[in-house]
Assembly symmetry: C2
Homo-oligomer: 676 residues x 2
């Protein structure tokens, strides 16, 4: 059974490739002293955030590990499951460490790649692109590498998929801190920098006099690199763990099958990353998309071969490919609703002619419409995978789980493209702050625009993947809890569902209000610096703002504002479970999946749309920059910022965390619930 | 069995009281020539809208009646059910006529009460209040009177609850036109009048020079009087029909029980209406609320007595009272989130200090939070009613239905309070346009403020009632279709649910975009009039704008923009049913209930909140009227307008229509669905 080693070997190959790319990036020239100075300020800020985040995370993880170790799978005082209790707690800690490692490593290289790609831009687009993209690829390959290696280790040591679920739960703790905390951080800095710098002082974007400018650049990294990486790490691991549980319960399918498929996905991603390149006059956005499509095809071929040689069921292969196809379709339709050259963005831009209110109503309306195609895509993919699996004699629910695994198999490539975005965004910022030539900034701009296109697709992809993953987790939860059905006409299921649908809106409201509160503190600090540091406003030689305090405010505030929503999403889940019982908790998860998907899609798409409507006007339409329609569109964009970068993307993580809490605590709920 | 006559007799009593109040209002003095002139312009505009609306409605109803008559309960060419086919089609037409009659009658008196209460305001608050309130009560009592009389006639003629469902379906057609069409109309006129009149011309509100001012006043009537009346007529009838179907299926409970309870609700409302009064220095808002509470108590006592004497099951009585209590709790908590003197509104007002975007994010966030209490309320009420009924040996699902009937029993009183709002709003407008003294306008203002408070509570109430009603309809649908369960783990149910949750957002987006398009036409027309009518801008003696064209534009546009969302909500429901089968359709309804409730609550509450945040600033806070924070708050309020007056309230109607389509077509779907 040497093929059992496919997964850990593929994972190792991924980590080795990441290390190779890390050294490739590191050996590039990091430019002028001025550039290095800015880059190291960003690096310091990001490390300060990570340090504090890891501290909070460590406290949280230790407490949770103790709770898990004492209580699960059975209370330790019963004495029947002492080894399992210890294994579960250890797997939990290990999961959070693996995700943190991937995030740390990915961010370390992103913080080197930004300045190096800015410098390489002096020699042309085709020199700068590989530096940035390979920098992003380190994050992508680290995520899948550490994730699959971690799962393999846990499973080969314990042989118990429920312990793998503990590993997944640990990863979700990291995701919560990185994604929601990072999301609050990034918008705190962005809103603060914009409202005082751009609006009050009339400074341009990325002006070095602005005390929040470094915090803003740090935010792109902690939100989009570390946050998105941890989020997809979380979904990736959760989908595999859920499918292992379903496979074991069925007894028909090889439990490690999803590991092997994931291994193929990693190999496909490594090849895909290697094939992405762009010519001198090339289009980096197209190159990124072609890389993704190629990876999909390679994955389909590799898994076909594996299925053939290892004599797996071809229904499973079909379900995996179906899931992957759905991911691509969701990405493309999402792209339609947010692209700058499509009717939704253009009409929203046009609506700005009658003021900010109509701009907002129009963008919000298109955001509402935009959820139709992806929801239909998830519906068709899950139903298709179900019936395909059944037609091949496999449990349909297993097919749905495999569709999630298929969709997530190319996460290495997806995260690579996504992490590319903040790297080139930073590169542009560094180029501007260090006063590079106009044509270099132009190239940096082109690289940045490609990042935005890639980001829209990956966001749709991430939401779709999270949707299928939580459906698989719901199935795993049913398996573990032994619930017969989640019938909407059962009053407990219905009651659970009503509370469940209220949770994602509550969570997003709390993080958005958190951004508001934190931005307020930041604004006060920026104003104080302009007031108290002589010569800062005027940009006198040698006068520098106190970047570190702004970074500190954003950091502390983000982690503080994260506490209430995180605790609520865990505590309410447990209360519903222990009071309402397993069926109520199933309904609750179902409800939270529904409204979580709705708001994630609405916020991501409306936010992207407002952003591009503004850019469409800035490109010269309806009066261009500085006109009344432009001012209206800026208001829409500012509303969209916390939608698309804080609340929307955090919802994926939140519903995954709630689903994992339910599955992990299910044995305890079965024992102690008030309601039968 | 003379007590079978309770329902029709109570309904007749309601209609007779309404007629009596109509004459009471009519005999009041209608003021000066100027006032009468304005009032008759509003009356003409409203009648023009109603006439065209009824025309469209008639075409729609005739087509649907033919479809129903030919196809249901079995295709007529099979020849087994010719009489039932004709009955169903006739009941459908009859339902739409009864609702239209109630709307027509109620609006006719509202259009008389407005000018008369403005005139009575000259003699004091305690003279003006009863004119306005009794004017509103005509609408309230007409709605319940015509509804219950209609149901009684249909049931006593056919003895078949499924034919009563056809009656309900007819009423829902009227609700769709009146609520969604009226909602588009009212915001078209409002936005048009504000953007040109207030913003471009700097006219005050309700300035007679503004060509859209009459359309705006008409809008209050067609949206809030006729629309809300038809909406609650719809929920009221649907809940009773659903419970009759459940009662017949169970065989244990008297089928006509909900009719008798509804009859008691009517008697309670008549008494409640009679008891509402206000002193010279009294508070009209408190008077309205006390009227509502009193009506609740009277209903509880009357139904207790009926239950005792007719030996009904006390579990049913408990469920009805529980539903009513939940309605009150939902109303009160909703009030918290929208009231001008509570933290959400004050903090949203404060957020305006940092601009429109933060105002919008803050208001939106509180709107997201605000859905928690009502969803919990619906959850607790439905679960409580379920288990209470079961504890008394009755089917739990029947208990849920009865909770809906209980909540809706006092609709007569609720609509009375709600229709009072636009009457006093109009009265204020007439007082201002005809140049009455400052102190009269002050009194009109006080009456208007009370209307806004009452409106917030009734909106929450209407959404809660719609929520419980569609749950009862879902149960009725299950009964008719014979579906075994709606298990979320069934792939067809899940697929249906994914499509179902996407429908309410799609519907609200289409009506909001419809408002935008229609307002654009209106703005062009207003600008044209200012350009082409000499002396209009300057307000020269004898120069009058062309009010009628504006009314016409709003009317035609509203009905045109209504077509696509209405057709979609019917067609997609049928497609899901005929392609996916009965289980998929059940999931679809469940999904649409979830997201329909979410968006209805979010939009109603956020909209009300932005409105009051603006008013809080206008009352002098954070710089007061004309300051930068005020401008920001005005943008928030303008975003909220189509939220709270168009999209949000239309969702109740939409999910009821979809549920009724499913239930009415269920027999056909069972026969012809592609999926088993």
């Amino acid at each position: 059974m040497e093929w059992l080693l496919i997964a850990p070997l593929a994972a190792l190959a991924s980590i080795i490739t990441a290390v190779y790319l890390f050294f490739y990036v590191k050996k590039q020239d990091s430019g002028t002293a001025k550039m290095r100075e800015i880059a190291s300020a960003i690096e310091e800020g990001a490390n300060a955030f990570l340090k504090r985040e890891f501290l909070y995370l460590a406290v949280f993880v230790v407490i949770m590990a103790i709770v898990l170790g004492v209580l699960l799978p059975k209370p330790i005082w019963i004495g029947e499951t002492v080894t399992e209790n210890l294994s579960l707690a250890s797997a939990y800690v290990f999961g959070s460490i693996c995700s943190a490692l991937a995030g740390y490593f990915g961010m370390a290289v992103a913080l080197k790649a930004n300045v190096r790609s800015a410098h390489a831009a002096k020699e042309g687009l085709n020199k700068a692109f590989p530096v940035a993209f390979r920098g992003g690829a380190v994050m992508g390959l680290s995520v899948v590498g550490f994730a699959l290696l971690g799962i393999s280790v846990v499973y080969y040591l314990t042989g118990d998929p429920e312990i793998v679920l503990g590993f997944s739960f640990g990863a979700s703790a990291m995701a919560l801190f990185a994604k929601a905390g990072g999301g609050i951080y990034t918008k705190t800095a962005d809103v603060g920098a914009d409202l005082v710098g751009k609006v009050e002082m009339n400074f341009p974007e990325d002006d070095p006099r602005n005390p929040a400018v470094i915090a803003d650049n740090v935010g792109d990294n902690v939100g989009d690199v570390a946050g998105m990486g941890a989020d997809l790490f979380d979904s990736y691991v959760a989908s595999i763990a859920a499918v292992m549980i379903l496979g074991q319960a069925m007894g028909l399918v090889e439990v490690t099958l999803p590991l092997i498929f994931a291994g193929m996905g990693i190999l496909a991603s490594i090849i895909g990353v290697g094939l992405v390149r762009v010519g001198k006059k090339g289009n980096p956005g197209k190159a990124l998309n072609w890389g993704t499509y190629l990876t999909c095809v390679i994955f389909a071929v590799l898994t076909f071969l594996v299925t053939y040689y290892l004599e797996f069921n071809f229904g499973i292969w079909g379900a995996a490919v179906l899931g992957l196809l759905a991911g691509v379709v969701i990405g493309i339709t999402t792209d339609y609703f947010t692209s700058i050259d499509r009717p939704p963005a253009i009409k929203t831009a046009e609506a700005s002619k009658t003021g900010a209110a109509i701009n907002i109503i129009t963008g919000f309306s298109y955001g509402l419409i935009s959820m139709f195609p992806p929801l239909l895509g998830i519906a068709v993919a899950s139903a298709g995978a179900y019936f395909l699996a059944e037609a091949f004699g496999i449990s349909g629910v297993y097919g749905v789980g495999i569709a999630a695994v298929g969709m997530l198999s190319i996460v290495g490539m997806i995260v690579a493209g996504d992490a590319y975005g903040p790297i080139v965004d930073n590169a542009k910022g560094i180029a501007e702050q260090s006063g590079l030539e106009e044509e270099v900034i132009d190239i940096a701009d082109k690289l940045d625009a490609a990042g935005n296109t890639a980001k829209a697709i990956t966001k749709g992809f991430a939401i779709g993947a999270a949707g299928l993953t939580v459906l698989a987790l719901l199935a795993a939860y049913q398996e573990i809890s032994g619930a017969v059905s989640f019938d909407l006409m059962d009053p407990l299921v219905l009651t659970g569902a009503m509370i469940g649908i209220a949770m994602p809106p509550l969570f997003s409201a709390l993080v958005m209000l958190g951004v508001g509160k934190n931005a307020f503190r930041m604004i006060e600090e920026i104003r104080r610096q302009f007031r108290e540091i002589p010569g800062l406003k005027e940009g006198e030689e040698g006068v520098k703002p106190d970047y570190a305090t702004c970074v500190d405010i954003a950091t502390k505030g983000a982690l503080k504002e994260l506490i209430l929503p995180s605790v609520l999403s865990i505590v309410v889940t447990l209360v519903v479970g222990f009071v309402g019982g397993i069926e109520a908790l199933g309904g609750y998860l179902g409800g939270s999946i529904f409204s979580g998907l709705i708001f994630a899609l609405l916020m991501a798409n409306a936010g992207g749309l407002w952003d591009n409507a503004k850019k469409y006007i800035e490109a010269g339409a309806f009066g261009g920059k500085g006109s009344e329609p432009h001012k209206a569109a800026v208001i829409g964009d500012t509303v969209g910022d916390p939608f698309k970068d804080t609340a929307g993307p955090s919802l994926n993580t939140m519903i995954t965390v709630m689903s994992l809490v339910a599955s992990v605590f299910a044995p305890l709920i079965v024992m102690f619930a008030l309601s039968p």
